[in-house]
Subunit: 346 residues, 2 copies
């Protein structure tokens, strides 16, 4: 077996010397498996929400056209990195082969069902056939193969819940796990986009960590998600607003916090121009955690400077130690979460 | 006196309900000063480099035409936001009036000379006359007035150093002040782009904070800046490399740290595609501070996830409490810094 690089640089075709994520083209020839690679027989792609929304819009919602765009992306790049949003997603499949340098060193064996938790934007992928597209949950069933590099992270699919349920939560596993690290008892937490998938997980985790002395405020967009979040009961306050309108949201949060603002703001909204709202609603010595892939680095940096805010702004890292275990456990802990996830995403 | 909004929304004429920065037109009537505003008698505009270069090109280098374009911009918008680059700059002037809601609450008095540290792209401005244009340093002397909002940040111009020296350091004041907050004794600090303006300030501050038990590594690009940084003596190691090549830089840092990598990496490089280098050179539980405006949010977020790194990534905030004082003090503390800044930028 050929020796591979820990980060997968041996699969990069263009340009040479870069890592797989920024590469324009990866080698997706699965007939040769390197000594530190895991070959996966892919069952389902869980496309990143920003990416799927973009592709769906380009295809005017037509499934055949969505399939065509996806095939083109993978043919051109050897991976499913959306060229317009830059984002990927994750996949579900079965371990088909384990490189000899990894054998016995990892907790996987051939036949295990896993979800890869690294982005599709860096994962060598070959699509043989697109079998089914489920636009409501951003999932696409395919025949195909993928490669997981030595540095790649994954989760074994649990046996005590349906696959689609586990997968829908693992997709956003970073957000609730980071919330668990950030929120302390007594904190006032604002979750922007709290009615969505990662938003609901964050709201539950924030409630748990902030405790009875804390305050969790959930901001949603549609009336439907607002009602849903209210019913879940994780938040002290739930309101509906437009996160691209900082002045209006600021006034609402001033009212809800007696002018004190949030200690921690978690932004889960997948639309542009919500940076200023996040900054203005947060205390001067607070933390804004940008989980949204629609975040603009310069808008955040210059925005905070422009209003003289000393807020700490974190780039949402999709990975943190134990994030898969933490997130799957939430679905076991909370009957409400499991029910709503089953209803909406599984 | 009329009551103003902390962020200056009371000066927004079009469109209604937005903040001053994205607004198309601000009210620049200086006869009415609101209770939380500071009226400034403007002496010099320090036009953002991208903006000035653009205006100069449109005017074919003709000073009268440059003046005409600038007057037009301000007449139309009530502020000097270049409509083609979107950027502003900063200004230098004397405090003429302080709103009654601020009196006694800030460390300014009428007659103080200050530099505003918020962008001209959100600062109400009236130009009565353009007196001198200095294209080599993007500065324009004017007769005119400007308004600083309550949330606006500023620095008093020190009397113990030339104005141009103070301004050149204030321009990047956020970086060394954030470094002061982050670096602890014993830390291994990697500064990428350590030979530039903000890089040298960060290197000096990191040395001071990391102390004798710490290690400061400076990475530069050109041989010239590498030699210059070596001579300054702030770093334990200085080397020359290409920050867009993560694999090569990673190997260098592995060597310099015996495979332990950096506790804190500060990225000051103003070119794209340096996110992965910053992530890979940092410990799994370390911190990457992105000060570069060329940072891509998605490249950082997906990059860390893609290599399974648990690193904490911070969006460089150009402002932090006391940043101007901290940065000006460095030029007093270090004869070496003051000399090199005087030579290169003043």
């Amino acid at each position: 077996m050929k020796k591979g690089n820990r980060y997968g640089t041996h699969r990069v075709l263009e340009p040479k010397g870069v890592l797989p994520q920024p590469a324009d083209k990866l080698d997706n020839n699965m007939d040769v498996v390197y000594d530190n690679e895991i070959l996966i027989d892919v069952q389902t792609l869980n496309i990143d929400s920003a990416s799927f929304t973009d592709i769906e819009a380009r295809a005017n919602g037509d499934k055949a056209k969505i399939a065509e765009i996806m095939m083109e992306i993978v043919e051109k790049q050897g991976k499913h990195r959306n060229p317009w949003t830059g984002s990927g997603g994750m996949l579900l499949g079965t371990v088909e082969k384990i490189g000899e340098a990894l054998e016995g060193k990892i907790d996987l064996k051939v036949g295990d069902k896993i979800a890869t938790l690294v982005s599709l934007s860096l994962t060598p992928l070959r699509i043989d056939k697109i079998k089914d597209i489920r636009p409501d949950i951003d999932q696409v069933d395919i025949d195909g193969k993928a490669i997981l590099f030595e540095s790649g992270i994954y989760a074994k699919i649990p046996t005590d819940m349906p696959e689609t349920l586990a997968l829908s939560a693992l997709d956003v596993a970073g957000a609730p796990a980071q919330t668990a690290k950030l929120v302390k008892p007594g904190d006032t937490v604002l979750i922007i986009g709290a009615g969505g998938k990662s938003g609901m997980l964050c709201a539950y985790e924030a409630r748990k960590r902030a405790g009875v002395t804390g305050k969790v405020i959930g901001m949603c967009h549609s009336q439907r998600s607002t009602d849903r979040l209210k019913k879940l009961g994780f938040c002290d306050y739930v309101f509906s607003g437009d996160a691209t309108q900082p002045v209006a949201v600021l006034e609402e949060i001033e009212k809800l916090t007696n002018g004190e603002m949030a200690d921690i703001t978690i932004n889960n909204v997948n639309i542009p121009d919500t940076e200023m709202t996040s900054i203005l609603c947060t205390k001067d010595d607070g933390v804004v955690y940008f989980f949204s892939m629609a975040t603009s680095f310069t808008k955040a940096a210059l925005g905070a400077e422009g209003v003289g805010s000393d807020v700490t702004m974190l780039v949402g890292n999709g990975y943190t130690k134990g994030h898969a275990e933490i997130t799957l456990e939430l679905l076991r802990e909370s009957k409400e979460l499991r029910e709503i996830f089953t209803e909406l995403y599984a």
